[in-house]
Subunit: 261 residues, 4 copies
C-alpha cells in the first residue's frame, strides 16, 4: 500500500518573488510532491498556508503517514492550535520531514524544545553534502557525497538536541559546516531535518535531492496504527496491580481520581 | 566558588494537605534546599509559585546555576511567559533538575517537545532504584541500588525523547518499571529528570535521595558563562565569508537584511 | 523478496541436558527458525557450532541478511577468525540479533567494545517485559507489556554502551530490572540484543517472543547492498581534491603511498 | 588534587623523520605533556612504545586518571595483552583521549567495535574546526571555530559508532568534512577522540589545541574510585533475592556454580 505523504508549503515567496516564481511556477509544494511521486509507492497530496486551517484539518492529518514541511517567511502566520495538532499527530506516529528554513518553523521548535538557530548567507555558493552514515535508509542509493552548486549557507552551531543519528554533514564554499541530515524520534513519530532547499535556487529540481526526499518519506513512515496512548497518564488502581500489593502510607488522591496535569 | 542552586516549590499541597504538611512543615522546597546544603559547595535559595513572578525574575535566574523544580497540582498556574524565561536560561546554560511530578510541568514538556506522560498508582509501595550507569557523576557514592519503602508508582511507557544517558531504572513492587534518572542537554543547559519525591511520603528525608540531588546539582552546573548566542541566527555577509566567495544566483534578502523567524 | 535469516545455535545444552533436550528436541536453533518462519517473508536456515567453520563460511554469510545468535556454554569454542568474519559482515550491513546468554558471546563483546556483564539467577521466576518505546518496529503488534512466567533473571548494571534506543525493560519477581531490548548500529549493520531465552524454560515456544523475533529480523534487515568501503582508509591525492588546493608543509608519505594501519 | 595524566607516544616518527624531529625535538609526547601542564591542575607523565611493557604497567595505569594516546606508524607493534589491560582500565573508569592517527590504534578499535576508517590527504591544507556544541566542557573558552593553517585532511565517512555527543566538526580546504571531536562512554570510562595532530605540522604548538587538550583531560577525568565490578557477572542465589521468591522450573546450574563466559 502506498505511503500517504502530505507536502505542506508556505506558498508565499512563489507569489511575491519573481525569482522563486520562475523556478517553481506551480509552487514549491507541487514540485516537492512531484519528486516524491517519481518512483511510485508514495501517494502525495499538498496543502498550503492559505488553505482553511492551513490545509491541516484533523481528518487530513489522520490520513497522512508522513508530512513534509517547507516554510520560511510566514512561520508566524501558522496558527498555534494547528501546530499543536500537528505535534499531536507526530507523537502518535505521523512522520515529519522538515525542509531547510523549516528549522525555524513553529512545529520544529515545538518538537525539539530548543531555539533551532543557525547562521546563514545567501550567496549561491557550493554545498557538498557528505554521507556520514553510509547505508542509512535515508542515504540509500547515494554515493559518498553530492553537490548543490548554488545554495544558501547554513552554518553551525545549530541549536538542536543531539540527534538519534547524523546522516549528512555539509561543506560550504565560504568556510562553514552544517549537520544537514538529522533524525529524531518524538513519541511514535519519526522526524527528519534536511537542510537544502533555498527558494531562490533550483534545489527541488535536483535528482539526488529527490532521491533523499523519497528515502526520507519511506524511513519516516511508521506503518503501525496511531498511538493515542502517548498522551495518557492513567491511574492504575491498587486492586488492578499486576503483582498483589496493599495500600500503605499517606494519600493525596481519592480512589479512581484523575491525576493533575 | 559555591554552586548557586535555586529550589522552586509549588507550595500548594503543604498548605492544603495535612499529610504533606506534617511531613514537610517548612514546605517541600525548604527541605529539598536543606538536602542540597548538607555537604557544602552548594548555596541554596528557594522560590515558590506564590511569589511575585513565581520568584523567577530575570535577575534571580541570571544568578542561578542550577534550578531544581518540584510541582504537581498547579502546573497550569505557572505563567507561560515565565516558562519561556526559564527555558531561555536553560538554553543559555542554566542547569535544570526536574523532580517527580514535574514530569508534567510546563517547563519540562516545553524542553522535551513530547507529552511526558506515564502511568501512576499512589499506594505507598516499595521502589528500588537500580544504578544502570555506575560511576556516572549523578550516581557517585551510591551502591548498586537504593530503596524507598513507600513511594508512588510511575510506570512506563514514559513519553520522553531518548535520553543522553539513563542513570537509574526503578523496580516497583506492584510490577512496573520506570526510567527514573535521565539526562538531557538542551542548548548549553544540562537537564536531569529524577523520579522519586511524592509529597505524601518522606522521600526528601532520605539520605540517599539527598546524595543524588547534590550529585545532580554538581553534574548540571555549567561553570562557563551563559551563552546568549544560542538564540541567534546571524547573517554572515558575503564579504565577511571566511573563504573568499562571490555571490551568485537569485536572492531573496537585501544585503544586511534580517532573516525570517 | 524474503529476508534471508540464519539462526546460529551453539547446540550444546540440547545434547547434554535432558531438561533442554525435552524442551527443544530438534535443538533450540530449529525452534527459533520455526518462529521466524511463522508468518512468511523470512527464509530461514540454521548453522551450529559443530558445523565446519561453525556453519559460517564466507559464502554463507554473504547470503545472509540477518544472523540470529544463541550461545552460552561454548562461547570460548567459537574461533576468533570466524568472529572477525561475522563482525566484518555486520559492519558491511548484515543484521545481527543476539539472544539471552549471547551477551557474553565473543561477537557481541567484539562489537560493543565493553565487558557486557550482568548479574543472574536461575530460579524460574516471573519476568515482565515493558515496552518503553511503543510503536518501535521491534514492538509492533505488542501490548504495553508481556510476561514470561519462568525465566532466568538478568540484572543491571549491564555493562554495554548507551544504546541507540531502548525498546524493552524487564521487571523481575526477585527485585531486579534489566534493559531487555537494545538497538545499536555498527557500520552499516543493525544490531539488536534481546534478553529472554534461557534454555531450561519454554521461552522459544512463546508466541510473543516469536513476534518480537520476527519484528527484530525485519528491523535489522538492511536491504541495501553490502558496504565493503566501511573498512577502507583511502588516500585522496592532492590533484584529485574536490576543491583545488596546493600541497604545503612537511610530508611523511610519498605520493600514492598507503597509510599506516 | 591534580589530575594525573599520562601521555603515551609512539615515538617513531620523531626518530626517523627529520621533519618531525625538527618540530618535536623532545618527542611529540613531551610537547603534548607540556601543553597539558600549562595551566596547572594536571600532573603529567609520559610513556612510549619502546618502554618495557610500552610504559603501561598495571601499576602505572592504576595511578593514571586520564591516558592521552598518540600513535601512527606502529599501531601493530603494541602488544595485544597491553591493549586489553588499557581497555580494562578504561572500563573501570580511566579516561582516554585519542589523538589524530590514533583512530586506527588497537585500543580505539577495541573500544569502538568498528573499523574506525576514514579518508585522508597529506597536503598541509587549512582545517577549520567548528564548535557544534557550544559551552560543552571540552569547548570551554573557545570561540565559534578555530583554524589550523596546515593539517592533514581526514574525511568522512568515519566508521565509528554514533557518539554520545559531537563537539567539533572540521571543514577542509580541499572539500571534505569530519567529525573532529566525539565523546563516548564505555563502562565507567570517558573517551574523547580529537582529530588534529599530524606529525609533520606544528599542531601541538597551537595554543587552542592545548586548550582543547586540557579541557578534554578535565572532562574525561572520573574522580570516583575505579569500578572493578564492570567485568563481573555474579550469581544472585535464590535465597539472597531482594524479594522473596521460590525456585521453579528446570535448572542448568548447581547452586553457587559460576556462569559460563
Amino acid at each position: 500500500m502506498a505511503i500517504r505523504a502530505l507536502v505542506w508549503g508556505e506558498n508565499v515567496h512563489e507569489q511575491e518573488s519573481p525569482v522563486v516564481a520562475e523556478l517553481y511556477p506551480d509552487g514549491m509544494h507541487n514540485q516537492i510532491a512531484r519528486l516524491l511521486g517519481e518512483e511510485g509507492g508514495v501517494e502525495t497530496r499538498t496543502a498550503v498556508l492559505q488553505d482553511p486551517e492551513h490545509g491541516l484539518r484533523e481528518q487530513v492529518l489522520a490520513e497522512t503517514d508522513v508530512l513534509v514541511w517547507w516554510g520560511h517567511a510566514a512561520h508566524g502566520a501558522v496558527e498555534d492550535e494547528i501546530v499543536e495538532r500537528v505535534a499531536r499527530h507526530v507523537w502518535e506516529g505521523m512522520g515529519l520531514i522538515l525542509l531547510h528554513s523549516a528549522h525555524f518553523s513553529k512545529i520544529f521548535k515545538r518538537l525539539m524544545g530548543t531555539p533551532c538557530a543557525l547562521k546563514w548567507r545567501e550567496a549561491g555558493e557550493r554545498e557538498r553534502l557528505w554521507v556520514v552514515n553510509p547505508r542509512h535508509p535515508i542515504a540509500a542509493g547515494l554515493g559518498e557525497y553530492f553537490e548543490l552548486e548554488n545554495e544558501e549557507m547554513y552554518g553551525e552551531p545549530f541549536s538542536v538536541p543531539e540527534p538519534l543519528e547524523t546522516v549528512f554533514i555539509s561543506w560550504f564554499q565560504g568556510g562553514e559546516v552544517f549537520r544537514s541530515g538529522l533524525t529524531y524520534r518524538r513519541g511514535a513519530g519519526n522526524i527528519f531535518y534536511f537542510r537544502p532547499g533555498h527558494e531562490t535556487y533550483p534545489t527541488y529540481h535536483d535528482a539526488t535531492v529527490g532521491k533523499v526526499l523519497r528515502n526520507a518519506v519511506k524511513w519516516a513512515h511508521n506503518p503501525q496504527a496511531r498511538y493515542p496512548g502517548v498522551h495518557d497518564a492513567p491511574n492504575v488502581p491498587v486492586e488492578a496491580a499486576l503483582e498483589p500489593i496493599e495500600e500503605r502510607g499517606g494519600k493525596l488522591h481519592e480512589a479512581g481520581q484523575e491525576g493533575f496535569r
